[in-house]
Amino acid sequence: MSKKSLLARNNDLANTKRQIEVLSNGQFANGELPTFAKKIAATNQFPLRPKKLEILQINMGYMCNQVCAHCHVDAGPDRKEIMTKKTMQECLNVIKKTGAHTLDLTGGAPEMNPNFRWFVEEAAKLGINDFIVRSNLTIIRANKKFHDLPEFFKKHTIHVVSSMPHWTRGKTDKQRGDGVFDKSIQALQELNAVGYGIPGSDLKLDLVYNPSGAFLPGNQKALENDFKKALREEFNINFNSLFAITNLPISRFLDYLIASENYEDYMYALVEAYNPEAVKNVMCTNTLSVSWDGWLFDCDFNQMLNLKVASKVNHISVYNEKLLQNRNIIINQHCYGCTAGAGSSCQGVVA
């Protein structure tokens, strides 16, 4: 597995325009497969429009201690783009007046932003009491200064959502890097120790599973049972729910699909698994995504493709919820990843 981001490797796909080109051409250009727009138009769901805004998802930066093979953010230690205090302040100004009740912090590893804790505390002062942090788990063990994160999460009753590709070491390390499994297990035990994921506790710990390869996730409930059984029996670990999420064909996962000659088949599989019901609950319908530098997007995926919201208001500094809510959501073929099977039910993804 490469230890660098696509950007640092000067990979062609680090250019988002190139990704859109790939997604627009091939099977979709020659009519072999219907475009996403055409597909949702068939059930009168085009154009896709936002519903009530519930979640502000803030990307604290693309820096990460890991370089997972499938990462749709192209995150890694070599990515220096992180949110400044000034942009955080602009976010706080918006938090004061937004109708959204949940603040969803993602990255990269959001905890690596030096102002991460400050930001959470300020947002809590403004009355936000519904926080989600997308934590990659290993960050808790990465450095001494992160060891007390479970306590910090607990203090603000932050809902922790973490990815875990498999309950076996081999599969996990292959996707996320050597040693990730052991560190993740340790981090989960520490979260359990402060009360996370324990039956009856109000400290919620959910896991996200995404396939380590060019296949779709199987039945969410069956996977949850397998994960629960294995983690409890072997490591005495408890968690609340498991969300089985489909990998979207963008960024590093797209690079992998193309390099392994799986792209075509994967897109077929996504289109085949299309579920018109899932369109109603795609996360862009109740979430707004804010990038590290304050731009606004329909979702974290569109952010990574640099597809800004189709609105005059496209930056946090000029935020206007009413104008923003009156927009069409920008879609492309990657959206098929959100509508495959049961759809993505965790209101977003863990990168």
């Binding site: 396939p211 069956a222 077929y268």
Partner: protein, 111 residues
């Protein structure tokens, strides 16, 4: 025109068999779908059986399909390989047990 007997892309066209015999095709797929539903056996167990049989049948389409199906269910490669060995053991056992027939025949024919 494809020059091989098997083309991976043909698996996607499996459903097309209904075009030339709709009723039978639909009945088959309905039956097929039902078989793999959760029942007295779990869908996971059925997937592993299907993988083993796919190998003994040596059907490349089924092997592709049930390898992928196994991955989707979180089945490990160790489990998959063991399933293939089960198929192989039955196959070789079935060959070898016919050795008894050979022995019987030899015993009958030889003075």
């Amino acid at each position: 025109m494809s020059k091989t007997y098997y083309n991976p892309a043909d698996l996607r066209k499996f459903g097309n068999i209904t075009e030339w015999s709709e009723e039978l095709g639909n009945k088959f797929f309905e039956y097929y779908g039902k078989v793999f539903e959760e029942g007295a056996l779990t869908a996971r167990e059925k997937s592993l059986i299907a993988l083993a049989v796919a190998h003994t049948e040596q059907c490349p389409y089924c092997i592709d399909a049930y390898t992928k199906d196994g991955l989707q269910r979180g089945i490990t490669k160790e489990e998959m390989m063991e399933a293939v060995h089960v198929g192989a053991a039955i196959k070789s056992g079935a060959t070898l047990v016919h050795g008894v027939q050979m022995m019987n025949k030899v015993n009958k024919l030889e003075m």
